[in-house]
Amino acid sequence: MGILDSKIPSGPLADKWTQYKNDINLVNPANKRKIDIIVVGTGLAGGSAAATFAELGYNVKTFCYQDSPRRAHSIAAQGGINAAKNYQGDGDSNYRLFYDTVKGGDYRSREANVYRLAEVSGNIIDQCVAQGVPFAREYGGLLDNRSFGGVLVSRTFYAKGQTGQQLLLGAYAAMNRQINRGKIKAYNRHEMLDLVLVDGKARGIIARNLVTGEIERHSAHAVVLASGGYGNVFFLSTNAMGSNVMAAWRAHRRGAFFANPCYTQIHPTCIPVSGDHQSKLTLMSESLRNDGRIWVPKRMEDAKAIREGKMKPTQLSEEERDYYLERRYPAFGNLVPRDVASRAAKERCDAGFGVNKTGQAVFLDFKSAIERYGKEQAKIHGFSNPSKEKITELGEGIVEAKYGNLFQMYEKIVDENPYVTPMMIYPAVHYTMGGLWVDYNLQTTIPGCYAAGEANFSDHGANRLGASALMQGLADGYFILPYTIGDYLSHDIRTGPIPTDSAEFDSVEKDVRDRIERLMSGKGKHSVDHYHKKLGHIMWDKCGMSRNAKGLKEAIKEISELRSDFWENVRIPGTADGLNQELEKAGRVADFLELGELFAKDALTRNESCGGHFREEYQTEEGEALRDDKNFKFVSAWEYKGEPKDSVLHKESLVYENIELKTRSYK
C-alpha cells in the first residue's frame, strides 16, 4: 500500500457506501454554523458542493475566475448525463453502469469509487428534476433517454444539446438560494493563487481579486478544489479559454499528490482545425454518434479528389464509402468509446484517407438517420407513398429537434450546411482523467484539502465514457462530499475561526507576491500566448493520441527548456494592481509548463497502452491497445519535489474483486 491509503471501506461492494454513511461522525447543526468551507471553482462539482454545504449549515465561500458562477465550463457539456434508472427496461442496473465505467476506463479506476458513483446516479436525476431542470421528455410526459459510446443500453438523460448548461444552471440556482440566505459568499472574478497549510492541514487560500489586483487571504476549516481539468496544457482543446490547472497545481506544490497526469481524453468528434489563428476547438457532442455514421472514402484517389475540392462526398455511393468503425467494431459500431474512435480516425487519416484540406478530418454523416426518421414520421403522420423530398423534410425535422443547436454551431463555424453535406470532424483534447489523487473521501494527501469533479482522478480510469463527467461532478458535489467532509470536520467543532494573520499566511502570501513580481519582470521578448502555443505543439506532437519513448524524452527536455525561456523572457504589459488578463494567463501558463513535463514523465513511466494513453511500442497486431496488468495495474501518484524531473512516483495498487480483468473488446 505504501503511503497511499485509499480508505476504501470493508464489506461487499454494494454495501460499502451505506455502511460508510452509517459509521461516520456527524456534526450537529449548531456546530456547523461555526465551521467555514472554501470551495474553489463553481462548476457542477463546486457549485453543487457549495450549495449543499450551505444548506447543511456550514459557512461557505466560493471562488471563480469568471464574472459569475453560471459561466463555469461545465456549462459547455452537450450530450447528457448517465444514470442507472433503467427507465427503458433495457437491462440497466447499478452494477452494469459500474461495469461499463470500469471497463470503459480500461481497468484503471477504483472499484469502490465507481460503484458508489453508479449507486447515486439515479438520485442525481431525481434531484435535478425537483430543481426544475427541463430534461427532454417523451410525448407521454416521462423522461427520454439516448445512448452514448461504450455501452449497450440507453441511460443518458439530456436537455437538447445543452445538458451541461441546464445542470449547471440548476446548481447555480441552488447556490443562489444559499447566497440569498447569506450562507454562501461568492467571490467572483477571483483566482486562487495558493493554498495555505497550518499544522499540516489545509486552512485557507491566497486569492487575487482580478478586478483590483488585490491579494487576499481567506481562511477556512477545509478547502475543496473543484477547479476542473488541465486540457489547456495542449493550448488547443475544447476547454474554455480560461480553464487552468492553477488551483490543483498549487495544491500539488504544497503536498497533494498528482495522479495519472498522462490520462487525457482526445474526443473523436470535434470541428477540425482551420488555421494558425485558431484559439480553441469546438466539440460536436458524442450524442451525434447515435445517429451519425462515420466514414472516409474506400479509395485513396477519391479521398484525394475530395481534399482538392474536385469531388463532393455526396457523389460517393454506399459501396465507395468505408464506414470504418462499423467495419472494425461490428458490436458497438459508431458507438465505441472515445479513445477507440479517436485512434481509428487518426489511423485512417495517417493512412492518407483524410477528407479536408489538411488531410486531418473524417465524415460524420446523417443521411441514413434522416431517411430512417423521415420514413417513421411519414408513417406516424399517415402519409402514404411520401416523396423522397417529403421523407427528407420530415427526417430533418427530427434531427433538428434532437441536435439543432449543434448543427447550427457547426454551420456558423465551418460555413457549410450539415443537413446536406456530411460534417467533417477530427479528434481534439477534451477531458483529463488524471488529477489530484484522492482517497475514498475525496481527500487529497493534504488533510482538509479535497478535490472533486474533473480536478480529481478517481472514477474514470484511463478513459472516461460519454455523459459520465456530469454524473461524477454532481455525485461528488451533491451526494459524496457533504458526507465525507462532515466526518473530517467533526474534529473541528472546537477549533474556532482560523486567523489569517498567522506566520503561515504571511509566508504563502509572500510567495505569491514574489511570483507575480517575477512574472512582471520578464525581459519582454515574447507574449504569453507565444509560449502557450509552443507548449501546445510539443504536447500534441509528442504526448497526444499516440506516444513513444523517444518522443516523450524529447518532450521532457523541450518543455523544461521552454519553461526557463518563459521565466526569463515573457512579456506582460501593464501592471499587477488592476485588471490584467495577460498576467492572469501568464500565471496559468507557468503552471502548465510544469505540469506538461510531469505529464510526459508519467507517460514515459507507463510502459503499456491503456485507454487514452496509447504507447506505440505496446499494441496488438491489429493496432489495439495492449495493457500490462501484471506490471501496471496501479495508479501513479506523483509527489512534488521541486522540479518535475525530481517528482517521486508512488503507486496505489488497484484491486479488482468484483470484475474480471479482460482485454477490452468492442468487436
Binding site: T52, E55, Q66, D67, S68, R70, R71, H73, I75, A76, K85, Y87, N123, I125, D126, Q127, C128, V129, A130, Q131, G132, V133, P134, F135, A136, R137, G141, A159, K160, Q162, Q165, A173, A174, N176, R177, I179, N188, V211, T238, A240, M241, G242, S274, G275, H277, S279, T282, L283, Q408, M409, K412, I413, D415, S527, D529, P573, G578, L579, Q581, E582
Partner: protein
C-alpha cells in the same frame, strides 16, 4: 482583409473612455471575431502597448461571457449568434467596425470592453430557484409526468445564457427578457408553480432596484437575443406578476 477598428478604451470605472482607431490587416474570413481581436492584441503586445481587455471564455456560444456592441448591435450583425461565434466572413475588406462595451446603468464598465453584469446574478439570487434541498431524497424523477410541450417550452426559456444582449439592445436598458426567461422556465413546470407568485414578485423587485428600465415593447431584445428567447416570455412574466399581485 483590411479593417479599420474603432475600439472603446477605458482605463477603469472612474476614468473617462474614448474610441481609439486601430487599423488591422491580414484578417481571414474563417477567424472568429474574438480571434481577430486576439491578432490585434498580439500586435499591440509586440509594440509594447496594453492589449484591449474583453470578456470571453468558452468561445462556443454557451457561457455568456462574451459581449461587445459591434457597429451598434449586441453580438454584431449576425442573428442567433454570440460574438465568439461571429465569423469575420460576415465583414468585407475595408470595413470600419465600431466595438464598444454593452451600455446600461446597471452594467458599469470595469475596463475597456468589460462590464460588470453582477446585477444579473442578484436578480437570480432574489428568486431564480426552486426551494428544494439538494439531498436527492425527493420523489422519483418520473413521478410527475410533464407534457412534452411544456417541458420543451420551459427548456427554450432555460437556454438563456445571461449575456445581457437584451439589455444592451433595449433603448430603456430593460432586463425584462432576461428575468422573464427564468420566470417562464419555472412557471411552465409543476415543480416551479409552488413558489411562482413569490418568485415573480421578488425577481421583479430586484430587477427594478438594479436600475434596469421598463419594457415598452419595441422587441429589440428578441431580435438580438443569441438564444432566440421570445417576447412571449415577457408577456408571461407580466401575467404571472399581475396574478401574484392580485392574489396577494
Amino acid at each position: 482583409m483590411k479593417l479599420n477598428l474603432k475600439i472603446w478604451r477605458q482605463k477603469d470605472a472612474k476614468t473617462k473612455g474614448k474610441l481609439v482607431d486601430y487599423p488591422i490587416d491580414g484578417i481571414d474570413g474563417d477567424m472568429s471575431f474574438l480571434e481577430m481581436l486576439d491578432v490585434l492584441n498580439e500586435e499591440l503586445n509586440n509594440k509594447g502597448e496594453e492589449p484591449v481587455e474583453f470578456d470571453h471564455d468558452c468561445r462556443e456560444g454557451i457561457c455568456g461571457a462574451c459581449s461587445l456592441q459591434i457597429n451598434g448591435e449586441p453580438h454584431g450583425p449576425d442573428r442567433l449568434t454570440t460574438t465568439c461565434q461571429l465569423h469575420m466572413r460576415k465583414f468585407s475588406d475595408g470595413d470600419t467596425i465600431y466595438i464598444e462595451p454593452f451600455r446600461a446603468t446597471a452594467f458599469p464598465v470595469i475596463k475597456d470592453l468589460i462590464v460588470d453584469r453582477s446585477s444579473f446574478d442578484r436578480i437570480q439570487q432574489a428568486g431564480g430557484f426552486i426551494s428544494v434541498n439538494t439531498s436527492g431524497n425527493t420523489v422519483d424523477a418520473n413521478a410527475i409526468p410533464i407534457p412534452k410541450e411544456n417541458a420543451d417550452l420551459s427548456m427554450d426559456n432555460a437556454t438563456c445564457i445571461g449575456c445581457g444582449a437584451c439589455v444592451a439592445a433595449c433603448k430603456n436598458a430593460s432586463a425584462m427578457l432576461f428575468t422573464s426567461a427564468k420566470i417562464s422556465q419555472f412557471a411552465l413546470l409543476p415543480q416551479g408553480r409552488v413558489e411562482a407568485a413569490e418568485r415573480v414578485e421578488n425577481m421583479v423587485r430586484q430587477m427594478d432596484l438594479e436600475g434596469f428600465g421598463n419594457c415598452t415593447n419595441t422587441g429589440a431584445c428578441e431580435v438580438e437575443c443569441p438564444k432566440g428567447i421570445s417576447l412571449e416570455s415577457i408577456a408571461r412574466m407580466n401575467r404571472e406578476y399581475m396574478s401574484a399581485a392580485t392574489e396577494g
